[in-house]
Structure formats: structure tokens, C-alpha cells
């Protein structure tokens, strides 16, 4: 950062560099500040003004993890989010392949339509879905929760794989057909392995979206199928701040682990490839 010179060349060098460094530190503080505060709160016993640091204690962790409801919610989250992601992958990846390789009437419209779930305030969508679920007896069921979470994953599971498949040159697949492989064999032996990094990125985003889903699950999953985010909304208002902080850290955990595990796939090319029609 210090090696590149700022664009405002007319300012004397040292001053310009100092301003650059200052801006960088400010941005870092802006981004990391809240996270740092969160961590401090999570490990705080009590934190009263005017002390700059709290007294450290793990008693809120014991409180949260000892709560029976929390245990159930963790279990529900860890069951529903991977299921939703897997189901989404099963449906969306073949669909993405079709979007990428076939020209059919309404293709663009259909592709854009997957944006629609994200274009409107979700609460309206969820209320309509809830009405439907009542009819179908899906309210307060595991399947209902999975389906709601699935809605959140569609955008990532369609757009990123479509871009990924588009980026695989047709010659590679044609060469496999030429060598004697049928369409299915070609897909599993050639297309899928090459597309895998992009698909992993899509699955990562989808999982995070499903895991963090709260609004819809609140409507559909209460009272017996409560996930962690939903529980957190309830707890946060009734208990001191450290409880919310502990919960936030707990919620970040799976996503963080997955991000670290998949970070070698998070190359700029794969993310960019997901956003072309």
C-alpha cells in the first residue's frame, strides 16, 4: 500500500503518503471496529462506562451453551442449512448447466427471475409462502424450514454455476464426446471436475445464506423448529448484551470455518464469472 503513489501527484510525497496511510487505518478501524467490539462483548463479564475494557469472564458462554433451547437450535441449524444447500445444489446445478449450454425461449427472463426473490422485501414473500405452507401442512415442519432456506440460496446456486459452466470451453466437452463418452459421462468426468471450484464457491455462499436465514424461518419454524438466528433474535432483546455477542460469535463459526477451508477457491475469476448473463 505504501509502495504505490497516490493519484494526486501534485501533493508533496511525504504528505501524500501520510494521508494514504491515515485513510487506510481509518477504513480498517471502520471495518474491524465493530467485530472487535463484538469479540470483547462476547468475553465480557460486565462492561460499564467509563472502563475502556470489560472485565473478562466466560459466564455468558456457560449461560448460552447451558440453555436447552440453544442446544436444540444449534442442532436444527446444523441439520437444516446443509440439507437446504444440498437440495439446492441437486436442483440448481443441472439447471445452471442448461442455462449455460442451451438456448431456449425465455432463458434470459428465467435467469433474471432468480433475482426477483432478492429484489423485494423478503417479509412479504415469506408471508405469502406461509399462507401456502398452511395449505400444504408444511408449517412448523423440518421440510418447511429447509424450503424457506432454499429460497435464499437460489440466487447463488444458479448464477455462479451458470457463469462457471459458461466459462468451460465447449471444445473440452466435445473432445470427450469425440473420444466416445456420452453426454452424462462427459458431464461427470469432464465438466463437473473442471467446474468444481466455482461450484464450491457457490455452495459456500448458499450455505451462508441458508444458515443465516431468520425472517422466513421465524414464520415457518416456530415453535418446534427454531434455528440459531431465530433464537438469537428472541434472546438478544431479553438478556444483556454479552448474550447477543456470544450468539453472534457462535453464528459466525461455521461460515468462518468453511471460508478458511475453501479460501483457495475464492479466486477473483470464479466470483466474477458468476455475474454474466
Amino acid at each position: 500500500m505504501a509502495a504505490t503513489s497516490p493519484p494526486w501527484g501534485w501533493v508533496p510525497g511525504a504528505l501524500a503518503r501520510a494521508v494514504g496511510v491515515g485513510m487506510f487505518l481509518a477504513l480498517t478501524a471502520f471495518l474491524l471496529g465493530p467485530l472487535l467490539t463484538l469479540l470483547l462483548w462476547a468475553f465480557a463479564g460486565t462492561w460499564l462506562f467509563p472502563h475502556p475494557l470489560p472485565e473478562f469472564s466466560l459466564r455468558w458462554w456457560a449461560f448460552v451453551l447451558g440453555n436447552a433451547d440453544v442446544g436444540k437450535a444449534i442442532r436444527m441449524s446444523l441439520l437444516s442449512a446443509p440439507t437446504a444447500t444440498l437440495l439446492s445444489a441437486l436442483v440448481c446445478i443441472p439447471a445452471s448447466y442448461a442455462f449455460a449450454r442451451l438456448e431456449f425461449p425465455g432463458r434470459r427472463f428465467l435467469l433474471l427471475s432468480f433475482l426477483s426473490a432478492n429484489a423485494f422485501p423478503k417479509i412479504g414473500l415469506y408471508v405469502s409462502i406461509a399462507t401456502l405452507f398452511y395449505r400444504l401442512n408444511l408449517m412448523d415442519t423440518f421440510l418447511g424450514v429447509v424450503l424457506i432456506q432454499l429460497v435464499n440460496t437460489l440466487l447463488f446456486m444458479i448464477w455462479i454455476p451458470t457463469g462457471t459452466f459458461r466459462g468451460i470451453n465447449r471444445n473440452l466437452e466435445e473432445a470427450a464426446r469425440d473420444a466416445g463418452a456420452g453426454p452424462l459421462r462427459t458431464f461427470f468426468s469432464i465438466t463437473l471436475p473442471i467446474a468444481l471450484p466455482g461450484l464450491i464457491v457457490a455452495a459456500l455462499f448458499a450455505f451462508i445464506a441458508a444458515f443465516d436465514e431468520a425472517q422466513g424461518t421465524l414464520i415457518v419454524g416456530t415453535p418446534n423448529h427454531v434455528t440459531m438466528p431465530v433464537l438469537m433474535y428472541g434472546l438478544v432483546l431479553s438478556y444483556p448484551q454479552p448474550v447477543g455477542a456470544v450468539f453472534s460469535v457462535l453464528l459466525s463459526f461455521p461460515s468462518l470455518l468453511l471460508l478458511i477451508a475453501a479460501q483457495r477457491y475464492l479466486r477473483a475469476g470464479y466470483l466474477a464469472a458468476g455475474y454474466s448473463l
Binding site: 470451453n169 466435445e174 473432445a175 464426446r177 473420444a179 466416445g180 463418452a181
Partner: protein
């Protein structure tokens, strides 16, 4: 060993006919080049043979059996593309062995055939490498090995070397030619480079705008082109406008005059094509000015300006006494006369008419 027949092949993309009524026979063991400018339909034709595109009309027969109903994986053809041939997630061995594994051959046989294929293309130790570790030329060689290991009846090559640098291109096409001779496989080779086609083909099919112009050996195409397009496309050619004078049975080609047989006098406007090597310095020829002399080592390429005929190109021996700016006289030794769909070959020398009886002939 197989014969390939294309019968009245037509392919349309929207209103535009990429290939129009193409009929072509490729003989057993022959290396046939499909040659033409971009958009002439040669790659579309190749893809139809391979099964990647289906024709709108016509038939494709291999040894008199129609293969039109067969998908690519069941056709006895193997294709080498211009790029993106090798699968990046497999080793060279994996790439070559893939087709054999699909056919469920025993492992021992797969191993020995892969080894043979690599030896055939001159890459015996490359088995464990990944494609990205190989150079462009090596990758294309592996692609050829992969195609041949399946022992196809027809080998298809879609401009496989146009992505390589010039020297490598020359080397690789010699290798492919040699390989093709050695294995004796019927081959269709698509290219836009006429020099490439002239060098390696047994016969060349020249295409333009989806229509077949002429099919012939390289020598025949060069010496006896049957359309203006072929004459201009193959090698270098001087194209001149001419007018026939039926009363005197002569052709007026710029400053030159040529007598034509009575029954072959072309009507109206004609195009006369003259090879650069058929323009010769002649003391009784037409006056021209030398604009540029390009010394190519073993011969000279001379750009001439003629007042009536425009710019001409002439090949001269390396010892010819020609320099830029000088005036000289040239005659036409041999020319091809195109009028309508007729071609007339005339031998020279064609000289300008004698001005008066007093000038020596």
C-alpha cells in the same frame, strides 16, 4: 482405412447458408485440406463430419454407410481442435487413456497403447505431466496422440496449428503429414493458410461463402485454377481487366495483345490472371516502371507500375538487373482468361502491338 463422402451437404444459420450443397469425396488414406477464407464454411463442414453439428440437408457416408444418425461418441472419427483440446484436470496419460477407459479396455492394453501413442508423437516421457506444464506445440501433439490412440477411421483437424508461432507451425505440419503417411489414415484438415494447404495436402477443396469452388491437387490448383477466386486465392496472382475484340480475334489486356482461336473468343468483359513468374522482361514488351524490388534471397519480388494495367507483381531471378525507379519492358508468358464460367489458358508471349511496319518485330 476409409472413404468419406459428403453428399449435397447444406447447413443454415438463420437465413444465411454456411454450407451450401457441398458434395465431396475423400479417398482412402488421403489428406484432404478444406481451404478458404474465414466464414467460408470449412469448419462447419468439419463439425458436421464429426457429428457436432447436424446438417439441414444432405448425407455423410463413411465407406458407404451413412453416419448421419450417429452422435459424436459413436462416429468413427476423431477431432483435433484449434485450442482447448486437453482436459486440464487430467495428466497427459489420463487425457490419452480417457477414450480407451470409456471403451473399457483392459488396463494392460491401455497402458501399452498410451505408451505407443506418446512415442508416435515424440513425447515418450510426458505421461505424468499436466497439460499446463507443456508448451503449445506439445499440447497439440498430445491432442493428436489422443485422437490416434482410438484408431479412428477418419482424422479431423480444425486449424490445429494456427495458435502456434510460425516456425513451430511449419514443423508441426510436417510432423502431421509424416504421421498421416505412416499411419495411412484418411484425414480432413481445415485451414485458411493456403501455404499450409499447398504443402501438406494430397488434394485441396477450396471453399468460398459455403460453396465448393474447386477440388484438385495443389499443383493443379496452382496451374489450372477454374474460377477467378481460386486463381486469386492460391499463390500470388496479377488480376487484369481485358476486352475481347471479336473482329480481330485479339484480347486487349492493358498494353498487351493476344490472338485467340476463333471458336474461343470470349464475350464482353474478361478477367485475365497472370502469375508473377509469367511476367518476363522482354525488349519488345510493354513499358513499365519498377516501383519496388524486394530481395527474398533466392529470387526477387518486383512491384511494377504500368500506365494501362496498374500495379503488377513480377518474380525475377536474383541476378536480374532491376532497381527501383528504372524503366523496363515486360511481356506476358502465360495467362488464364476468365469470362463467365469459362477458363481459357493462353501461352504467350503477349506483347504490345507493333506500332508501325518500320519497327522490328
Amino acid at each position: 482405412m476409409a472413404r468419406l463422402s459428403l453428399l449435397h451437404l447444406t447447413k443454415r444459420f438463420g437465413p444465411h447458408a454456411a454450407v451450401h450443397d457441398l458434395t465431396l469425396d475423400v479417398r482412402d488414406g488421403e489428406l484432404m485440406c478444406l481451404l478458404g477464407p474465414s466464414g467460408c464454411g470449412k469448419t462447419t463442414t468439419l463439425r458436421m463430419i464429426g457429428g457436432f453439428t447436424s446438417p439441414d440437408a444432405g448425407d455423410i457416408r463413411i465407406d458407404d454407410h451413412s453416419v448421419l444418425a450417429l452422435p459424436p461418441e459413436r462416429r468413427p472419427t476423431a477431432m483435433v481442435f484449434q485450442r482447448y483440446n486437453l482436459w486440464p484436470h487430467m495428466t497427459v496419460e489420463g487425457n490419452i487413456a480417457f477414450g480407451l477407459r470409456v471403451r473399457r479396455l483392459p488396463r494392460g492394453e491401455i497402458e501399452s497403447r498410451v505408451r505407443e501413442a506418446l512415442a508416435l508423437v515424440g513425447l515418450p516421457g510426458a505421461g505424468r505431466k499436466y497439460p499446463h506444464q507443456l508448451s503449445g506445440g506439445e499440447q497439440q501433439r498430445v491432442a493428436v496422440a489422443r485422437a490416434l490412440v482410438l484408431q479412428p477411421q477418419i482424422l479431423l483437424l480444425d486449424e490445429p496449428f494456427s495458435n502456434l508461432d510460425a516456425r513451430l507451425r511449419v514443423h508441426m505440419r510436417e510432423e502431421v503429414k509424416q504421421l498421416q503417411r505412416q499411419v495411412g489414415i484418411t484425414t480432413v484438415f481445415v485451414t485458411h493458410d493456403q501455404e499450409e494447404a499447398l504443402t501438406i495436402a494430397d488434394r485441396i477443396a477450396v471453399m468460398k461463402d459455403g460453396v465448393l469452388q474447386q477440388v484438385d491437387t495443389p499443383e493443379a490448383l496452382y496451374a489450372h485454377p477454374r474460377t477467378v477466386f481460386v486463381a486469386d486465392f492460391i499463390g500470388t496472382m496479377n488480376m487484369l481487366h481485358a476486352r475481347a475484340d471479336p473482329s480481330t480475334r485479339t484480347l486487349h489486356v492493358g498494353p498487351w495483345r493476344l490472338a485467340v482461336p476463333a471458336d474461343r473468343v470470349p464475350g464482353g468483359d474478361v478477367t485475365v490472371a497472370v502469375r508473377p513468374e509469367d511476367l518476363v522482361q522482354d525488349p519488345h514488351g510493354a513499358p513499365v516502371r519498377v516501383r519496388r524490388v524486394i530481395n527474398l534471397g533466392h529470387y526477387l519480388q518486383v512491384v511494377l507500375d504500368s500506365r494501362e494495367a496498374g500495379t503488377l507483381r513480377m518474380f525475377a531471378g536474383k541476378d536480374a538487373a532491376l532497381s527501383e525507379g528504372m524503366e523496363t519492358r515486360v511481356a506476358i508468358g502465360r495467362a488464364l482468361v476468365f469470362s463467365g464460367s469459362e477458363v481459357l489458358e493462353v501461352g504467350g508471349p503477349m506483347r504490345p502491338p507493333v506500332a508501325s511496319p518500320l519497327e522490328r518485330p
